[in-house]
């Protein structure tokens, strides 16, 4: 471990090469290398693979409830074979439907797009790109993964309990989530959900603190803050958001556990449920919403910022051009980070919130569109007059920008309280956040996986499958979510599993069928991606050069398969920012190259 603790200074570190594999100077057992590993790269891969498992589960759930939405009158006997009473007669039961949407939302927001995305890439990239041998605390880092694993086990087990998983929606609003009498999903499933989320928050905090301290303290010599790649800045702001806001959700969840199990009245007042008069008085159901969204809104950016950072990096590398407006990109990340804390009540315009307070949140919410617009224009200018290579990562990055524009613009509708009165909790919201936060972040994640796969495993993924993956997903995402806005404009509420009993909402039958068919196809293509991923780990084309993309950042100066400690010998010193592409007639100039005497300034 000695090289780990010394490495950050960037001074001369003696790191003798003991054997040719070069991972440290002690033999590691299988368990300490692959399971209870303290190597940030392995932990990153653990997060990624666990995240993929969850993504498959969450995606499969969405296919199941899409079947119900597209074909509410049809029966699917095979569902009864698999799910028994939950799909009695081949028909998805309402309790099952709400369990599916709740777990789908929870695992995709938290377990996939938080842990799977920033857990993976913060772990993988922070030490490699700032020039450190590992995280500030490899042990806490390991704990972070294992708390996540524990949270996963609890969440997974909640699916199998007799009364079913939590089914109050991923936001878990009380009193519904606080009252066992209110439904089957509100029984043990909700307790397990809350405990799993508490474990998840612990994991997220351990990880976040580690990311922050590594970025602040362990940069290599010459790596000033403004020479850091934008990925690292994005991970930094993500971690700050998480560390400041997740504890608030933890408190919200714990108060809810108290209300459920200890008879407190934090969220409960004036309730008669199923004919039973409860004694609770004086609590406020809205308090939970404030606590939840104080995390919930920053959470959106916790999901989005890492994707933005990786997209900036990938677009710059592959258009062979510096990212346009580095400082503006950084400033807009900072602005988003600050504003993210000041907009939470825009989720609560119709809860009876004081209208004046509502108007303040309208102003702050729409302000966030300004830094977002800056980022979009800067990405566009980065592409302008570039020499673009369409690697699978580049395509996903371009797809990200397209989706971010589409989903960001519909945010201007919802952030405006006047329009939100009509659109609140309709399918318009579902379409909006799936595009801007769900699919866009997934695109960022795919871009990251394709781009850094050679670094992770020393092999390439299959390109043909990758291109098919991109095109089907891109077309599919728009086919699924674009028309959904129209359902929202018609006022169709979210979480309606059958609209045939409504005069105002039953006019979209064929549309729902189309969306269901497309989502099944898109899901199948994601399985193909997973297959490509695992197949390529073992059988992919081998990487033969250290720097396959011709990139400037430090991770490409390591060996093709770096061991624990990342660099053989000294950690390289950094002399310039990471975006000198196409400068002075040279295709790229790595960060490790000293600035020449005649080099032009920028």
């Amino acid at each position: 471990m000695s090289e780990v603790t010394h490495g950050q200074s960037g001074a001369v570190v003696a790191m003798p090469v003991h054997h040719e594999h070069g991972h440290g100077h002690h033999e590691q057992s299988f368990i300490s290398k692959y399971i209870f590993s303290m190597d940030h790269k392995t932990i990153g891969k653990q997060f990624l693979i666990t995240g993929m498992v969850w993504a498959i589960i969450g995606g499969l759930f969405s296919v199941l409830f899409r079947l119900q939405l597209g074909y509410p009158d049809q029966t699917f006997p095979i569902l009864e074979t698999f799910f028994g009473k939950w799909a009695a007669g081949g028909h998805i039961q309402p309790e099952f439907y709400y369990g599916l949407v709740t777990i789908h939302g929870t695992v995709l927001v938290f377990f996939v797009l938080t842990a799977g995305l920033s857990g993976t890439f913060a772990n993988l990239l922070i030490p490699l790109q700032v020039g450190a041998r590992d995280m500030a605390s490899p042990f806490l880092n390991m704990l972070s993964y294992w708390f996540f694993f524990l949270a996963s086990v609890i969440m997974l087990s909640s699916i199998f309990v007799h009364t079913g998983p939590a089914s109050g929606g991923w936001t878990m609003y009380p009193p519904l989530s606080a009252l066992r009498q209110a439904g089957d999903g509100q029984k043990i499933g909700t307790d397990l959900w809350l405990i799993a989320m508490a474990m998840f928050i612990v994991s997220s905090l351990l990880g976040g603190l580690n990311y922050i301290s590594t970025i602040l303290n362990m940069r290599t010599k010459g790596m000033s803050m403004t020479r850091m790649p934008l990925t690292i800045w994005a991970m930094f702001f993500t971690a700050v958001l998480g560390v400041l806001s997740f504890p608030v959700l933890l408190s919200g969840a714990i108060l809810l556990l108290f209300d459920r199990n200890l008879g407190t009245s934090f969220y409960l007042s004036d309730i008669v449920v199923n004919g039973e008069i409860l004694p609770n008085e004086g609590g406020s159901a809205i308090l939970y919403q404030h606590l939840f969204w104080f995390l919930g809104h920053p959470e959106v950016y916790i999901i989005l910022l890492p994707a933005m950072g990786m997209v900036s990096e990938i677009l710059s590398v592959n258009s062979r051009k510096p990212i346009f407006g580095y400082m503006a990109m950084l400033g807009s990340l900072f602005a988003i980070c600050i504003l993210a804390f000041l907009v939470w009540a825009h989720h609560m315009f119709v809860t009876g919130l004081n209208p004046f307070l509502g108007s303040v949140f309208v102003l702050l919410t729409l302000l966030i569109a300004v830094p977002s617009a800056i980022k979009v224009f800067n990405w566009l200018t980065t592409l302008w007059r570039g020499n673009i290579r369409f690697t699978p990562a580049t395509l996903f990055a371009i797809g990200f920008v397209s989706l971010f524009i589409s989903g960001g613009l519909t945010g201007i509708f919802l952030g405006n309280s006047t329009i939100d009165i009509h659109l609140h909790d309709t399918m318009f919201v579902v379409a909006h956040f799936h595009i801007v936060m769900g699919v866009a972040s997934f695109f960022g994640m795919f871009a990251g996986v394709y781009h850094w796969f050679p670094k992770m495993f020393g092999r390439y993924m299959n390109n043909t499958l990758a291109y098919m993956h991109f095109w089907v997903t891109m077309v599919g995402a728009y086919l699924i979510f674009w028309p959904m806005h129209y359902q929202g404009l018609a006022g169709i509420p979210r979480r309606y599993l059958d609209k045939s009993g409504w005069v105002s909402f039953n006019q979209f039958g064929d549309l729902d069928k189309m969306i269901t068919v497309v989502s099944i196809i898109v899901f199948a293509v994601q399985l193909m991606f997973v297959f490509n991923f695992f197949y390529s780990i073992f059988k992919g084309r081998k990487v033969t050069t250290r720097n396959p993309w011709g990139a400037n950042t430090l991770e490409w100066t390591t060996e093709i398969n770096p061991g624990h400690g990342n660099w053989e010998g000294e950690i390289p010193e950094v002399h310039r920012w990471p975006y000198d592409y196409g400068k002075d007639g040279r295709e790229y100039i790595p960060q490790t190259e000293p600035v020449g005497a005649n080099e032009s300034k920028h």
Binding site: S269, D270, I271, V272, V273, I277, A285, P322, I323, F324, A328, T351, G352, P355, G358, S359, V362, L366, V370, A373, I374, F377, N378, W379, L380, T381, R385, N387, I388, F390, L395, S406, L409, I412, N416, T418, I419, I421, H422, D425, N463, L465, M468, M474, P483, Y486, L489, A490, D498, K499, W502, V503, S504, Q507, L511, F531, Y579, Y581, G582, K583
Partner: protein
């Protein structure tokens, strides 16, 4: 059997795709990675441009197919404001959408890798960045200004002459209460809720304001056209939401915290039947906040009618006080008129 075939076809399709993918990789290696890559690059550049064109056509087609199925004319005064705000925002965002998406895909296509071109080293330009900070900021200021102006109009105090109706949600139904001739809703307390004693809302009978309150359940809420209505909203168990798509109004029903909203319905149900050409048309109350397994079916209905029709409907109703306390009902007594009058005066 059918399922088995579908799965078999999927697996087969996947295997074929995978073999093609593998073969194309071998071919690329044989022909030279670099050469194969450049060719794929051209294909993807072309695909990006095609995606843009087909995508824009798709946007147009989608709108053509679906725009007739949404909204319809708003049926309240506030709805007019909401729709106006919506269409202003739509116009602005649509222009931005078109410009940025075209720029994105066009740049990607135009500046795809070519041996003839070198990337242009262009790290920043303060003037450009200032322009695209200021223009969105001004545009958004306009939207915020309009939005807040309308928002205060909609959420401001209800007019003095508005009729009051209480809406109470519970798993999974809506109940209504009208304040009767005094125009005041009587006090209530949740622990008094008792269906067996005909007190479903927990009204306090010692409050005289309750004595003429009309309780309505199992049928439509009735409203008067062109008369402002002030809805007082509550919930007995979990959070619900009174969603009125045609009036473009929405407000949560929160247990323990009464909420309210007001609007003026501008079209009778009969008018809407004519306008939509749908003989089954009815104003619906949809629950918009997840409230349990019956959330999707928590439906209420509203009838908007003329004052005369409303009065005729209302006159047949008996105050819940008399239902719960039959001994006070004049219909059950011979010389009751004076007694009831005395009770009401208390």
């Amino acid at each position: 059997m059918q399922t088995f075939f579908i799965v078999a076809i999927l697996v087969l399709g996947f295997l074929i795709t995978f073999q093609i993918a593998k073969a194309s990789e071998y071919v690329a290696v044989l022909r030279g990675i670099e050469k194969a890559r450049k060719q794929t690059n051209k294909i993807n550049g072309f695909m990006l441009l095609s995606f843009l064109i087909l995508g824009l056509i798709g946007v147009w087609y989608c709108n053509k197919k679906l725009s007739g199925k949404i909204l319809g004319a708003p049926a309240s005064d506030h709805g007019v404001l909401v729709d106006r705000m919506l269409y202003v925002t739509l116009a602005i965002t649509f222009i931005v959408f078109i410009i940025t998406q075209i720029a994105l895909f066009w740049f990607a296509y135009k500046y795809q890798e070519s041996d003839k071109r070198k990337a242009f080293y262009y790290p920043h330009n303060n003037k450009l960045e200032l322009i695209w900070t200021v223009i969105p900021a001004i545009t958004l200021t306009v939207l915020v200004g309009f939005g807040i102006f309308y928002w205060f109009k909609i959420t401001g105090n209800a007019p003095k002459n508005s009729m009051v109706v209480e809406v109470v949600g519970s798993q999974f139904k809506w109940e209504f209460r009208y304040p009767g001739t005094d125009g005041v809703l009587g006090k209530k307390y949740f622990k008094k809720i008792n269906d067996a004693e005909s007190n479903p809302l927990g009204q306090l009978w010692e409050d005289p304001a309750n004595h003429d309150d009309i309780y309505v359940s199992g049928e439509s809420m009735h409203l008067v056209v062109n008369k402002p209505v002030h809805l007082v909203i509550g919930s007995k168990d979990v959070i619900h939401d009174v969603g009125l798509a045609h009036f473009r109004m929405k407000m949560d029903a929160v247990p323990g915290t009464p909420t309210s909203m007001w609007f003026t319905p501008t079209k009778t149900t009969k008018q809407m039947i004519e306008e939509t050409g749908n003989p089954d048309f009815v104003y619906e109350i949809s629950c918009d906040q997840m409230c349990g397994k019956g959330h999707w079916s928590m439906r209420g209905t509203i009838v908007v009618e003329t004052q005369e029709e409303f009065d005729a409907w209302m006159v047949a109703k008996k105050p819940q006080y008399l239902v719960a306390n039959p001994s006070m009902d004049p219909a059950n007594k011979t010389d009751s008129v004076t007694t009831v009058a005395a009770v009401v005066q208390q």
